[in-house]
């Protein structure tokens, strides 16, 4: 129990620290790098929770692909540390922080006071199950259509992103 606690808290601290850094870093490149670290940490948490497949995907998709994308775009823009990285205004800033904190408080409060979904089998039994296989079955049966839709989505995004990036400009652009 203690070890689990230590593992959790260290991961949690790691995560929160880098999430904060992502938020606070004035240089977007730094933000991106902190985000990578956060995501890696998250993969660790997933692993900790027994979702090994997901943890793997997290590492590949997020920490790998997405972050490369971010960094590349940022390089494209050639940005330096920003002077005004944050929105200004004491009232709105305070409001934003308060709102987020309030929401967090409410969420945690509700978690503490709520019954979670009825447990079919003991939590300990879980890791034995072959998540990855079951996931695959579900994907190709019940969620087949959604899965295909996801494929369409990716195609669409691919086409769309290319089109958007290729845009030269409006009617005033030369043909």
């Amino acid at each position: 129990m203690l070890w689990e606690a230590i593992g959790f808290y260290s991961l949690a601290l790691f995560l929160i620290f880098f999430a904060c850094q992502t938020l606070m870093a004035t240089n977007p490149i730094h933000s991106a790098l902190y985000l990578v670290l956060t995501m890696i940490g998250l993969a660790g948490v997933f692993f900790n929770l027994g979702a090994h497949f997901i943890a793997g995907v997290q590492m590949i998709v997020y920490a790998g692909a997405v972050m490369v994308l971010f960094v590349m775009v940022l390089m494209l823009f050639d940005l330096k540390a920003e002077v005004r990285a944050f929105s200004r205004g004491l009232i709105s800033g305070g409001l934003k922080v308060t709102a987020a904190a309030f929401l967090l408080g409410i969420t945690i409060g509700s978690i503490r006071h709520s019954q979670l979904a009825a447990v079919d089998q003991p939590a300990e039994a879980l890791p034995i199950r072959d998540f990855t296989r079951e996931l695959g079955v579900l994907l190709y049966t019940k969620y087949l259509f959604a899965f295909e839709a996801l494929g369409v989505l990716l195609l669409v995004v691919a086409v769309g992103v290319v089109a958007v990036s290729r845009m030269k400009g409006g009617t005033h652009a030369k043909h």
């Binding site: 709102a99 309030f102 929401l103 409060g109």
Partner: protein, 644 residues
């Protein structure tokens, strides 16, 4: 001849005359127009005579010729037919109306010969006859009201006949509006009677009257009579609504003679004679009527003493004489009122026509200060006018003497009357004698004061003939109503024919118990006073011509007040009409524009202001939008979780 057909013809003749002349209103052929109109009036007069003849042939208790043409308004209990009735009262009226009317029509032919629109004039005149006949023949209050308003309308049209003059147009309007005020009261009177008795038929109403007189001011009959009297004050120019009549002299003079002397203005008197059995149930109302009549008589007479316009004098005189009639009505002397109505119709029409003749001769000059000595130039007019003068100041045996004296006597002796009423009446008689003599003196007697470019001449026969007829009537008209005590001493003992004629249809008021000696005395006093006043006036205006002016100077404030008609018009305009106009403007500008519309705009501004606010928070800042969303979530979640 069938009486229904006669009544029909009687009514229709002037209407057709109106239609013919109305359609050819542009015509300037005054002879043709006049002939048509006069012919129509004459046909009506003929019918009236035939109807009178038929009535004579009936027994005294059954002298009613009734007919119904068609149902007019039939709603719920309110069943109003176009029903007409000729009885003792209305036959007198139609004879006066059509008789005097015919004469005045005839007179008008000459009088209007130079006018641009004679056809229109005669059309209006015929229309007036029609309406007046409706008024007096109607067998119910509503038909009477139709005529009542109708005559007011014609009066409006005729007063404003020469509309190019704004003052004349204004006079017409004043007449109509003032009458309307009365009419409004009349309407309420009708309502009260209808909802109390369920009918507006005169005869049904009479039959349904309770035996006991009402003693409360708010009892229905009393209230109804008071409201009807409001109507009468308008139409018959009593206090406080008499103000229109003097102004009404703006119309052509024959109109003044017909409408504003002989017929229309007496409608109020007719109404109460007709409704005598209703009125006697309401002694309080009678008291009000008597006092109003008496005061009107006196006040109008005093004003009459100071007027310089020949027609204005006659107008105030008319008001004053109408006051007499109401005095009579108020003391229950209904037949006396009706009698005076008739004689007054003769002599006042005569005097008006005479004045018309004078004005015609003087080229539209009406100021008596610029006349004088016309006796030489206009002998027939003078002579006939003289008859009228004698009649109105009550010289026996002229018509006015009998009728006026009966009223005075009744005012004295009737249980509803009293010494004060008699005294007021007597003072009025003195005043009347004074101003009438003054009028005679300034117009016909003395030296002429008009310019050299004016060449007065006697009027044509078509104008003098009516004068002569009316002159005769002013003399003999009173002989059918010779008071009992005089009749006793006369050879053949002529009774009070008029009174007997009306007796079956009017309410009986307990006669006063006073000795014949007293009656003789009072009669003598009033005649004597009148004679003195007349002599005094003659003396002042023909012989000692400075005296009036000096006297006026000595009582300057009073004189000023009287000659300015006690500032009643000024009061009405300054205290009622102008403030009302101001209030109306205020309502428009403040309530409509500043309150109601403003409220609408405020609603609009509110939305507009909100719109500005919505536009402000729609700042275009993505993060603000996200914040709104977050706040929304926070608020909703808080409510759901904390209150749930």
């Amino acid at each position: 001849m069938n009486h229904a057909l006669l009544i029909f013809t009687l009514l229709l003749a002037p209407l057709i005359g109106f239609a013919i002349n109305g359609l050819r209103f542009r015509s300037q052929n005054y002879i043709l127009a006049g002939s048509i109109a006069t012919g129509a009036a004459a046909i009506s007069f003929l019918c009236s005579l035939l109807l009178f003849n038929q009535l004579l042939g009936l027994p005294a208790d059954e002298r009613v010729l009734a007919t119904r043409f068609f149902d007019w308004i039939t709603v719920g209990q309110m069943k109003v037919p176009f029903g007409f009735v000729v009885d003792q009262i209305s036959v007198v009226m139609i004879l006066i109306i059509t008789g005097v009317g015919s004469l005045i029509h005839l007179f008008s032919v000459g009088y209007m010969s130079h006018d641009e629109r004679p056809a229109k004039y005669f059309a209006y005149l015929n229309l007036f006859l029609f309406n007046m006949l409706l008024l007096v023949l109607g067998d119910n209050l509503l038909i009477t009201f139709v005529g009542w308003e109708g005559v007011g309308l014609c009066s409006y049209l005729l007063i404003g006949f020469w509309f190019s003059d704004p003052a004349k147009a204004a006079a017409g309007m004043k007449a109509f509006v003032t009458n309307r005020i009365g009419d409004a009261g009349f309407l309420i009177g009708i309502f009260i009677l209808f909802f109390t008795f369920g009918t507006v038929n005169f005869f049904d109403l009479s039959a349904m009257m309770p035996d006991l007189a009402e003693t409360s001011w708010t009892a229905p009959v009393t209230l109804a009579c008071l409201f009807l009297f409001v109507g009468a004050t308008g139409k018959s120019a009593q206090i406080p609504l008499y103000v229109w009549l003097p102004d009404a002299m703006a119309g052509p003079t024959p109109v003044s003679a017909l409408i504003h002397a002989a017929t229309m203005v007496t409608a109020g008197v007719y109404l109460f004679v007709r409704m005598s059995s209703v009125l006697v149930v309401a002694p309080l109302a009678m008291e009000v009527i008597a006092w109003t009549g008496a005061l009107t008589a006196l006040i109008a007479a005093t004003i009459g003493m100071t007027q310089w316009d020949i027609k204005k004098v006659l107008a105030y005189s008319t008001v004053s004489q109408l006051g007499y009639m109401f005095l009579a009505v108020g003391v229950g002397a209904f037949s006396a009122a009706q009698f005076h109505l008739m004689t007054h119709a003769f002599f006042k029409a005569l005097m008006f026509l005479g004045s018309g003749s004078v004005i015609h001769a003087m080229h539209e000059e009406q100021d008596i200060r610029k006349m004088g000595g016309l006796r030489k130039y206009m002998p027939i007019t003078y002579l006939t006018f003289l008859m009228g003068w004698l009649a109105i100041i009550g010289v026996p045996p002229f018509a006015g003497f009998f009728s006026k004296d009966e009223i005075l006597w009744q005012a004295f002796s009737s249980p509803h009357g009293g010494k004060v009423l008699w005294f007021i009446g007597a003072v009025t008689a003195v005043c009347t004698a004074f101003y009438m003599t003054r009028l005679m003196a300034l117009t016909f007697w003395g030296k002429s004061r008009f310019g050299h470019d004016v060449h007065p001449h006697e009027s044509p026969v078509s104008m003098t003939a009516p004068l002569m007829i009316l002159g005769v009537l002013s003399v003999v008209g009173g002989w059918i109503g010779i008071p009992h005590i005089i009749g006793e001493v006369l050879p053949g003992h002529p009774g009070n024919v008029f009174h007997h004629w009306l007796e079956p249809v009017i309410a009986k008021v307990e006669a006063g118990h006073a000795s014949a000696a007293l009656e003789w005395t009072l009669m003598g006093v009033s005649v004597l006073l009148a004679a003195v006043a007349a002599w005094f006036a003659y003396d002042s205006y023909v012989i000692n011509r400075e005296r009036p002016a000096n006297f006026a100077k000595r009582i300057a404030p009073l004189y000023l007040a009287v000659s300015n008609k006690y500032y009643v018009d000024e009061f009405y305009f300054g205290r009622i009409i102008n403030p009302l106009v101001d209030v109306a403007k205020g309502l428009w500008l403040y309530i409509d524009v500043n309150v109601i519309d403003r409220a609408t705009y405020v609603a609009g501004d509110l939305v507009s202001g909100l719109a500005a606010f919505v536009k402000t928070i729609q700042s275009g800042k993505t993060q603000s939008y996200a914040l709104y969303m977050t706040l929304g979530v926070v608020v909703i979640v808080t409510i759901v979780l904390l209150r749930g």
